[in-house]
């Protein structure tokens, strides 16, 4: 009995393994075409990546639209440079330990370089030390690590980006009134930078605007919705609402819609995604700041390839940000950084 069960398990694993190796090892994306040139440029088999450059990217997540866009950019660069990449991340952004395991496995695959978006700025340091000892260059992306092991950091200047959101908010609500913020979390670098960037800019440049509340929704749409509703109930004169990431912004949108407060509150979001794009198009949301996730992925792989070839890589690579609203969201260069 157990034998049959066991055979089924093995058969299953083998089928999956076959699926993955047929595509050239890195075919885990929605764009199978991207791996074909990579596979043909390297003559070595998929199990011996000694000749071909192989770069695993360990992100903070994989299901989220944002990370899918980073992956898209990474795959674009992989095709261009003829290298092989893999892209994975834990299911939620609290699973620091799962991410370490992924990093560990990535190390054991003896890659040419590794891209890492660390969930915790310290926990990964011992493993990074191992990478350094083995001569594997590390490119940090999205958030940095409290260590000088990563040779480069590809990121958005979130403080500046959130500051420009604050300026837009001031402009839209006429320079005075109550404003609230929903942030995804208070532990990650992006959460802290976006919150502080927005708050500092308001305090410096717009003294008549009062920030009445800052809440943390974990980037969870539902939780953020409930938080935003409570804030709107508590501050009936609220004029503006800033959501510091996709989940937070969508939470605010849901809250405003559910409370039928459309038009009374100016909403500014962050990142993109179908729901935010639709809301901006329909006028429910004033506009949003977008990082350039495609650019983050692209620049990370580009830097990793350069590092693997022994070329010099700048210590900090700014992947840029844009403000987009109804007026410019269909421009070609803006469209390129938005994702659905």
């Amino acid at each position: 009995m157990n034998k049959r069960m066991l055979l089924t398990i093995l058969a299953l694993v083998m089928v999956l393994a076959a699926c993955s190796t047929n595509g050239g090892g890195s075919n885990n994306g929605n764009k199978p075409a991207t791996t074909t040139p990579a596979a043909s440029s390297g003559d070595s088999g998929t199990d011996t990546p000694t000749e071909k450059i192989y770069v695993p990217l360990i992100s903070k997540g994989f299901q989220h639209q944002f990370w899918q866009a980073v992956k898209m950019g990474a795959e674009r660069a992989a095709t261009e440079y003829g290298v092989e990449i893999t892209f994975e991340g834990p299911e939620t952004e609290s699973q620091v330990d799962k991410q370490l395991e992924m990093l560990q496995v990535a190390l054991d695959k003896k890659p040419s370089a590794i891209g890492l978006a660390a969930l915790d700025s310290q926990a990964s340091i011992p493993l990074l030390q191992r990478a350094q000892d083995a001569g594997i260059p590390i490119i940090a992306f999205d958030s940095g690590v409290d260590s000088d092991i990563p040779i480069s950091l590809v990121t958005t200047d979130n403080v500046a980006a959130a500051g420009s959101a604050a300026d837009k908010m001031a402009e839209l609500i006429g320079g005075e009134g109550e404003v609230a913020i929903i942030v995804h979390d208070q532990t990650s670098r992006t959460g802290i930078d976006r919150r502080d960037g927005f708050v500092q800019r308001i305090e410096e440049a717009h003294p008549n605007i009062k920030i009445v509340d800052i809440q943390y929704g974990g980037g969870d749409h539902l939780k953020s919705t409930d938080l935003a509703k409570a804030i709107i109930q508590a501050y009936p004169n609220l004029k503006g609402f800033f959501g510091a990431n996709e989940g937070s912004a969508i939470g605010i949108l849901n809250a405003v819609t559910e409370l039928k407060a459309e038009g009374n509150i100016t909403i500014i979001g962050y990142d993109s995604g179908q729901a935010q794009l639709d809301a901006i198009r329909s006028g429910l949301m004033a506009g949003a700041i977008s990082q350039n996730p495609v650019g983050i992925g692209y620049e990370t792989v580009k830097a990793a390839v350069a590092a693997a070839r022994g070329e010099s890589v700048p210590e900090h690579i700014d992947s840029g940000y844009v403000w987009y609203d109804q007026s410019n969201m269909d421009d070609e260069d803006i469209k390129a950084v938005l994702y659905e």
């Binding site: 157990n2 034998k3 993955s20 054991d108």
Partner: protein
């Protein structure tokens, strides 16, 4: 008198489960063999150590869960109680500056107290285990967030703390054999757990309660007290897992832990312990936990898309439990 009444049943069980463990162990070996052939990067010392290390935390949680599951109960709170234990350890060591030993004892005690409270709610108030531990899961999650101020607590001032998981006592004794202490602690905990479950009175009553609670009660055993003891012991193992986790990450991460109880339960079930109680072994749980990590690691090494990795693990759980049901139907 009581003891002799129960002993024959459990010795017969030990014999039968021996065969089952052999088969479970066989499937583990086959999985390892398969991945070793499929990828040249799998069967390396550092990767195998990585697998063991990634098994340690979930493994210790699963050991604790084995006790309650054998007693016919369930503990859904192990994931977040683990987090609360690590947060409390952080509070004791980093915030209050207490010595390491005291901080660790405090972390273990936190686990015990949570287990004790769940046990009391179940045995004394008659709350069903599923609900009582679901409540504890939420209470522990909330408390961990409140106490830590939702920020991770780092152990950067006490570099020795990190060595509980990441240091290697074996590496010092046998040069080159750098097995992290977390793995050592996991196996020690398994040996202790195995002795408790098969050689002590609490283990024997655990099986008795799980097979037939009413009969056990009628034969004069104070089922309520033993249940509280069983949940407290699960709490102790949860506390150990909390310290291993904190030491591994060199920080107490307050938002971690949700969902770990389900991984622990999955490991227990793959290891052949019956969710209806009265049947199970620690060795089985260890093998179950190893099968889970070998699968995850191997699929990752083969670069199987992450979405599919989850599907495979789900199917394995289903198959393992179905196999168990078929075997029992035949018996």
């Amino acid at each position: 008198m009581r003891d002799t009444a129960i002993a024959p049943a459990s010795s017969k069980f030990v014999f039968k489960s021996g065969l089952q463990q052999l088969l479970a162990f066989g499937s583990l070996i086959l999985l390892v063999a398969f991945f070793s052939i499929a990828s040249s990067n799998f069967f390396h010392f550092s990767n195998l150590v990585g697998i063991l290390l990634s098994t340690a935390v979930i493994g210790v949680l699963a050991l604790g869960s084995t006790f309650v599951i054998v007693s016919g109960g369930i503990d859904l709170s192990v994931g977040t109680v683990m987090t609360l234990s690590s947060v409390m350890t952080g509070v004791f060591i980093t915030m209050w500056g207490l010595p390491l030993g005291v901080g660790i004892a405090g972390g273990l005690l936190t686990g015990c107290v949570c287990g004790f409270i769940s046990g009391m709610a179940i045995a004394r108030l008659g709350v069903p285990p599923f609900i009582a531990t679901l409540a504890m899961m939420m209470i522990a999650k909330g408390l961990a967030l409140v106490i830590s101020g939702t920020r991770p607590i780092y152990f950067t001032n006490t570099p020795d703390f990190m060595r509980i998981s990441q240091g290697s006592l074996l590496g010092v004794l046998i040069p080159g054999f750098n097995i992290p202490n977390a793995v050592l602690i996991f196996f020690l905990a398994a040996i202790v757990g195995s002795i408790i479950l098969s050689r002590t009175i609490i283990g024997r009553y655990n099986f008795a309660i799980g097979s037939n609670e009413e009969a056990t009660r009628l034969s004069g055993v104070n089922v309520r007290n033993w249940k509280v003891a069983i949940y407290t012991m699960t709490g102790l193992f949860t506390g150990i897992a909390g310290i291993l986790m904190a030491s591994r990450l060199n920080s107490a991460q307050p938002s971690l832990g949700m969902g770990y109880e389900l991984e622990a339960i999955a490991a227990v079930v793959i290891g052949g312990t019956s969710l209806s109680g009265g049947k199970g072994t620690i060795v089985g749980t260890v093998i179950g936990a190893l099968i889970m990590s070998v699968l995850t690691n191997g699929l990752r090494i083969l670069s199987v898309p992450q979405e599919w990795q989850t599907v495979v693990v789900g199917l394995v759980i289903l198959l393992a439990v179905y196999g168990d049901i078929l075997r029992r139907r035949k018996a």
